[in-house]
Symmetry: C2
Subunit: 403 residues, 2 copies
């Protein structure tokens, strides 16, 4: 029996596999034959409030295959913070009214920990007013900082790209007899998961000599000593540093801008450390910021990550059909295989999972074998892409019909 | 009949296929059975002067296949400027003496236009003193600024990476209803070949809205007007800009540092334009510098580029065996197929090939179909890589034996 329409919304910054999760949701919804229409919000919560939806009920298996290889929210994203119900109930009523008008009985919301907060609040509200719509969170963030999941879809592919790129930068920066101290800045906000992934390149013989995560207080003098020592030994030194490293005064790379969630905007730590090297060590240096490509580089997807992202999407729909709401489709590993579980959204919202101590060396400048055991399965396998005009052919949402 | 030893030297910055040319040289030298030993200078000219050589005579076909997929000079590089013979003849005598001691009868020198200058000078000196060593240049530069060749090995793969990355950045930066003006800085020194390659992404529907090359004088007001217009229309704007764009006063992104060839060090133009957008338009902005990965990203090689790089290496050896010296193995196209020709090194040394006028639109902010006809064949085809620990497996030169 059909039970109304499913709505999918994407939220937050790009990952290489957020659309793989969307493809999983859509495929499962189509196969379940439980929904009249399968729709996607244009620009996430903004599209919901404006009643701006795509109808994706008729996407073919080929369309979904292509979608599952395409980076960055194909249906548009948002950075939307739902206020507390007590502060502003109007918006909750608007959403319920839109959902009622469009007969939305299931919402899958794909995002990071801020989005899981929105998701949890909405699920609680719907339950409170007895509104017949299930709300399921689908995890997404390259930062890998969500709790209650083995890892977060998006992290595997970003890690594969970052480790590959650091391997290539290591080769590039080692060609001269007398090279430089090169400092690479890597995303991850308050956690070092992405930066730690560089250590895979080191495992392959070429990678960063020093790796600094936000989980250990950054000490400038130790950094300069370490970098100079490596440089004197090898003639060059490659440093990987998280955008969110902090010293005793706060973020090393902070500027004064706050984003829409009142988070400090990060960026510039590589430039700062590079200037420090230049001034205090008088050694030639270069700053590199891996920037957006690290979260959007679908041309080197991790097969495991992509498959798990699809799995999360499918499982989210199944959870709704099983009558659950206010839960997130979470990943765990049983006997080496990925399995999905549901976890309470309230336990995920706004929490941050740090890199555990046993993944970081005593000196705070290297990564341990324990971390490698964790990360290697997550970057395993490659996805064959279609190429057109010599570059990857990606899904084009501009021709989708509106709902 | 064996005729002494062949020496290969690599020079200048990384490309993704400089080792493909080396593999071509080594393979052809092995197959010709004309040399006693095949050797590579460690760190280019520095290795020559220090008599620090690898012996690669015994590399297997598998070794050479792997080498041909590995970015950045596997044998080490240098930035060495050979003085004029009239100014300093000592170094020329040193080189001849090293070559005599090691019975080097053929030198293939792989580099850009500065390296072709070194190559031309050395060939002229050897001819003058009747020294029995052939000197052949093998072209290499991502900048594509060498004259007398259809294109330069390294350019195809860098273009493929850049076009792919700009496509992915375009997808990433279009996800929000209200986005930013994003400015991407691309290599190429005084020429816009690499930046122009971004236009391939535009051909695929997602790419930069505005593209600025050094071949047209950069006008800040036009840039701000163009960027604001696109932003107001689309809600976001992606700009690709060459590191070497110049206004009436000189390089927009110049700093005060000179490199060892007395070239101004470039970098920072994206940050400067981004600040300009922020201050004068008060629109949210982001600067991205594609940095080293654009020249070292062998994980997305152009098959055509790689094959042509190998071809140049093989042809260089053949030229020497045919008795030529002071020439470069150059690429041209006949009936749609790549063929090699020899061109006089003196005509290549220090010359710079600019992007022709018919490749740039009248408004100076877009690229024409003529350029696309030129570039598309150069980024065609993919190379299958081996993966190990989830990342590309590259050639390891640390275990090579010394000569």
């Amino acid at each position: 029996m059909k039970q109304g329409n499913l709505l999918l919304a994407q939220s937050g910054g790009a990952t290489a596999v957020i659309n793989a999760s969307a493809a999983g949701v859509i495929r499962q919804a189509i196969e379940s034959k439980s929904f009249d229409k399968i729709t996607c919000a244009h620009f996430g919560m903004n599209g919901i409030l404006k009643e701006d939806f795509f109808d994706v009920s008729d996407l073919t298996a080929n369309d979904l295959d292509l979608l599952a290889k395409t980076p960055a929210s194909a249906f548009g994203s948002c950075r939307y913070k739902l206020p507390n119900f007590e502060q502003d109930s109007e918006i909750y009523k608007n959403i319920a009214s839109v959902f009622e008008r469009h007969n939305i009985t299931c919402l899958t919301y794909n995002g990071g920990n801020d989005s899981m907060d929105t998701c949890a609040k909405l699920a609680a509200y719907f339950e409170k007013i007895n509104f017949p719509c299930k709300v399921i969170g689908v995890p997404k963030t390259v930062d890998n900082d969500l709790v209650n999941t083995h890892y977060c879809p998006g992290y595997g592919s970003a890690s594969k790209y970052i480790a590959t790129t650091l391997e290539e930068i290591a080769l590039d920066t080692a060609v001269y007899e007398k090279g430089r101290i090169t400092v690479c800045e890597i995303m991850g906000r308050d956690t070092g998961w992405l930066t730690a992934a560089c250590s895979v390149a080191t495992l392959c013989g070429k990678g960063p000599d020093l790796i600094y995560l936000p989980e250990k207080t950054f000490d400038e003098d130790s950094f300069l000593q370490d970098a100079e020592r490596v440089y004197r030994q090898k003639g060059h030194c490659l440093v990987a540093v998280s955008e969110g490293v902090r010293n005793e005064y706060g973020y090393v790379g902070a500027n004064d801008i706050l984003d829409s969630f009142d988070h400090v905007q990060l960026g510039g730590v590589a430039a700062k450390l590079s200037n420090m090297v230049s001034k205090r060590l008088n050694i030639s240096t270069r700053a590199i910021d891996l920037s957006l490509p690290q979260r959007a580089a679908a041309h080197i997807l991790s097969l495991r990550d992509q498959q798990d992202a699809i799995l999360c999407g499918k499982y989210a729909v199944q959870l709704a059909l099983d009558g659950l709401s206010g839960v997130m489709a979470s990943l765990s590993v049983k006997d080496g295989m990925t399995v999905c579980e549901s976890v309470d959204l309230a336990t995920v919202a706004n929490a941050v999972r740090l890199v555990p101590k046993n993944y970081i060396s005593e000196d705070g400048a290297h990564i341990t074998q324990d971390f490698l055991h964790y990360v290697l399965p997550l970057i395993d396998g490659e996805v064959q892409l279609e190429y057109k005009h010599g570059i990857p052919h990606y899904f084009d949402s501009s021709k989708l019909k509106r709902f």
